[in-house]
């Protein structure tokens, strides 16, 4: 039985084409993955299904009824549920209130029935087997992964008037750890057994290949192919997405690691970390991973603000860092995890974003702005990170996610750093940009920089890093070479199990 079918869908925004000819079919009990590079039209398609925008042309059929939803509440009534990639949470409200956002609160005598609100939110969370989050906890106190779980739980809120039939998930695992993702996949399997349909958007191809029944590939606003997951391979999908043959990237290049220690950290504690010590060699890409809240998420911020609480040595010289400004001044570049909220100034142009940490050097008479030098530097490093833009004066907000991420790297390397601290360097980035970033990081390491990569993407860790440090409960629980490390072994290390 077909739950949803879309054909010949077209939508343009002003002059820009979002969708040209998109089609998609979802059967009951199916997980249908939707993949494509950033800008391929996935978000537009989702927005149409959600009733946020109306298509210019084409047909949308949901449960037999021919018409695209005209509003988000109509989409909800017709049984659609959405889990968006962006974490749009209200930090000041409780988890339960976030789950009920945009839905009528349960009432008693005209007033909010808080007990019932919390009870229903708790049952939504429990359907995800999430028991460690209390519905009355204020959102701001939860970790990023937990906030995502709350957002996901909102889609599982029972609604007797409009039972959920179709779940649309846009990168639901982007902020989740391996453990949390596994839990989500179990839920998806249960939904499938109940004959619900799932549209699953993700950049993580391994994930897509393992959970989807069928895979549709969007490119330039068109559905290029729909194939059975069983018949698909990663390279085939990449080829369809990018339109060019991509050889499977070889494992981590044997980087010419020097014996010289770029950064040594002894006894870093505080902010949830306990006595973390490690050594980063020159030319090395060192990975940090772990389960949710194991400490790796806080590593870079704790490190750059460690002050007296840790013994740091940079190329042998004892150093103290009292904040990000100190780090940049000593040649340690940062690329924070959330590029939109922690990284970029979206309203400003590329040159300003790249130059910001380096204004102390890119200036005239140590006081006046030197726009010429800023632009020249931005153009140079932009080229180096393979940034696609109309030039250094393009507004960063107008770039795709992958290119925004490249602006972050351009900023990081613009000062010729000796050490880079990168937090989730490829989150929400499409495959093409991801490979660009990997190639560029290897180049950088080969040139002698030491690079720390914090990532919850194990594939990325194994692929990119020469060694990995596994965190557990705020401590370093294991360190291993990635050379012959199997994905299962890495996961086992995260869970703290001994491997042979």
């Amino acid at each position: 039985m077909t739950l949803l079918s879309v054909s010949g869908l077209r939508k343009s925004y002003g002059g820009a084409v979002g969708l040209r000819d998109a089609s998609l079919e979802l059967s009951a009990g199916e997980t249908h993955a939707l993949i494509g590079e950033n800008g391929a039209g996935k978000s537009t398609l989702i927005r149409i299904l959600a009733g946020a925008v109306m298509p210019d042309a084409g047909e949308v059929r949901i449960d037999g009824k021919h018409a695209a939803p005209r509003s988000p509440s109509e989409a909800h009534r017709r049984g659609l549920r959405f889990i968006h990639q962006e974490l749009n949470v209200v930090r000041g409200l409780s988890a339960a209130e976030n789950i009920f956002l945009g839905r009528p609160y349960p009432r008693r005598l005209g007033l909010v029935d808080w007990r019932k609100l919390n009870a229903r939110a708790r049952s939504a969370l429990e359907r995800l087997e999430v028991r460690h989050i209390s519905p009355s906890t204020i959102m701001a106190r939860l970790s990023v992964g937990d906030r995502m779980l709350v957002k996901i739980a909102a889609a599982f809120l029972e609604d007797d008037d409009a039972p959920a039939r179709i779940f649309v998930m846009d990168e639901p695992t982007a902020a989740l750890t391996g453990e949390e993702s596994e839990r989500l996949f179990q839920i998806l399997a249960a939904l499938r057994r109940r004959r619900c349909g799932i549209i699953y958007v993700s950049h993580r191809l391994d994930e897509v290949l393992s959970i989807a029944d069928r895979i549709s590939v969007l490119r330039d606003g068109e559905t290029r192919a729909t194939l059975e997951a069983k018949e698909a391979t990663k390279s085939k999908l990449i080829e369809l997405m990018t339109g060019r043959a991509v050889a499977e990237i070889a494992g981590a290049a044997a980087s010419p690691m020097a014996d010289r220690i770029a950064l040594s950290v002894q006894g870093l504690s505080g902010g949830g970390l306990r006595d973390v010590s490690f050594e980063l060699r020159q030319g090395e890409i060192l990975g940090f991973t772990g389960l949710a809240d194991a400490g790796q998420e806080r590593l870079t911020s704790a490190l750059v603000s460690s002050g007296r609480s840790a013994r740091l040595a940079l190329y042998g010289a004892p150093t103290r860092l009292r904040g990000p400004a100190d780090a940049w001044a000593r040649g340690i570049a940062l690329a924070p995890r959330e590029r939109r909220t922690q990284g970029l100034l979206l309203a400003l142009d590329i040159a300003s974003n790249v130059a910001l940490p380096h204004l102390g050097r890119l200036n005239r008479l140590r006081l006046f702005v030197n726009r010429h030098a800023e632009r020249a530097r931005a153009a140079k490093v932009g080229h180096r990170v393979r940034l696609k833009s109309t030039g250094p004066l393009q507004k960063v907000g107008k770039l795709s996610g992958g290119n925004q991420q490249k602006v972050m790297f351009a900023r990081a390397v613009a000062g010729n750093p000796r050490v880079l601290l990168l937090d989730e360097p490829t989150r929400g980035v499409d495959v093409g940009a991801k490979f660009d970033i990997y190639a560029f990081l290897r180049e950088l390491a080969a040139d002698g920089a030491g690079i720390v990569v914090v990532s919850s993407d194990h594939e990325e860790i194994l692929h990119l890093c020469s060694r990995v440090v596994v965190m557990r409960e705020g401590r370093v629980s294991a360190a291993a070479s990635t050379k012959s490390l199997a994905p299962q072994s890495l996961l086992a290390l995260c869970y703290g199990e001994a491997t042979d």
Partner: protein, 318 residues
């Protein structure tokens, strides 16, 4: 059309105001004498608005500027009464302005109080201090040196044209120029705009936010105190409510300016347009004998209309 309205709506409105008064007051409005008069009337507001632009570029506010202007005037007048000369009175009053501004900056940047609350508290404290120091009375008379009052009445004669640029206008132009250089041409100004764009991103990109915020509020205090001295000079006296109207007008001028800027950022040049717009409105309506309460209603409505047009345009652009 919506884009046009958003980008140039305020500018078109400004021109419409000018044309309207030109039409209604053909003999008196667009004369060099009246324009110079407006420039002098607006000079205090221009100075406060310029330094307010610095604070608002970071995304903060300074509500205490009006009462600081009053306080600075009182401080200068008291130094005069005590027998001090302008060489002592002016630096002391400006130092009080900087100190008050730095206090605001300290509360906001280092203690972590919201600017709205911190400067609202400071507004009350400065105002109370001005009343207390002056005993609630206007300080005037022979204690105020003639040269101090004379400064505001004087000007720079432009050769044989017969046009004299008032000294206060020159001071305002100087303040605007310095603020423009600071915000647009120095790396510190760039960092301020970065803080206003996204404070957390700026911090992680190595911008030392606290000292910059401290300095920006210090500048705002200095601007407010300068305006207070200009006000006192203009009437050769000081009273504890002299600067009261400055704060709301300054914030309005900056907001009017932001409706014309690319991404809604405060810019000194555009703030100046906002100041001129408020000045032209006030002057024209007064000349037409419009009641001062009605004048306030019209001015308020125009500010709301300008900001509304701009936000609607922005929303449509999506």
């Amino acid at each position: 059309m919506p884009l046009l309205l958003r980008r140039y709506g305020t500018a078109i409105g400004f021109l419409a105001v000018i044309v309207f008064f030109w039409f209604k007051l053909p003999d008196t409005f667009l004369t060099s004498r009246n324009l110079l008069n407006i420039s002098q009337q607006m000079s205090m507001l221009a100075v406060v608005s310029a330094t307010m632009t610095v604070v608002m570029a970071m995304g903060d506010f300074d509500l205490s500027v009006g009462s600081m202007a009053s306080l600075a005037g009182i401080v200068a007048a008291l130094v005069f009464v005590a027998g001090g000369s302008s060489w002592i009175a002016l630096p002391v009053a400006l130092a009080v302005g900087i100190a008050g501004g730095l206090l605001n900056g300290f509360l906001v940047a280092y203690v972590g109080i919201l600017p709205f609350i911190a400067t609202l508290g400071a507004l009350t404290v400065f105002s109370g201090l001005a009343f207390w120091l002056s005993g609630g009375k206007t300080i005037f008379g022979s204690a105020i040196p003639a040269s101090f009052g004379g400064f505001a009445r004087g000007g720079l004669a432009l050769g044989p044209t017969g046009v004299t640029i008032p000294n206060l206008t020159l001071v305002a132009l100087g303040a605007l120029l310095l603020t423009w250089i600071f915000l647009e041409q120095t790396i510190h100004g760039r960092r301020l705009y970065a803080i206003g764009g996204n404070a957390e991103a700026a911090r992680l990109a190595g911008v030392r936010i606290k000292p910059l915020r401290l300095a920006a509020f210090g500048l705002s205090g200095l601007g407010a105190a300068s305006a207070g001295l200009m006000l006192a000079s203009r009437v050769a006296s000081a009273n504890p409510t002299q600067g009261a109207g400055l704060m709301l007008d300054a914030i309005a001028a900056v907001f009017l300016g932001t409706t014309m800027s690319d991404e809604g950022q405060p810019r000194v040049v555009l703030t100046l347009v906002g100041v001129m717009m408020l000045g032209a409105l006030g002057n024209g309506l007064t000349q037409m004998n419009v009641d001062s309460y009605v004048r306030e209603m019209i001015t308020g409505s125009i500010i709301i209309a300008a900001v509304a047009a701009s936000s609607l345009g922005r929303a449509r652009e999506g």
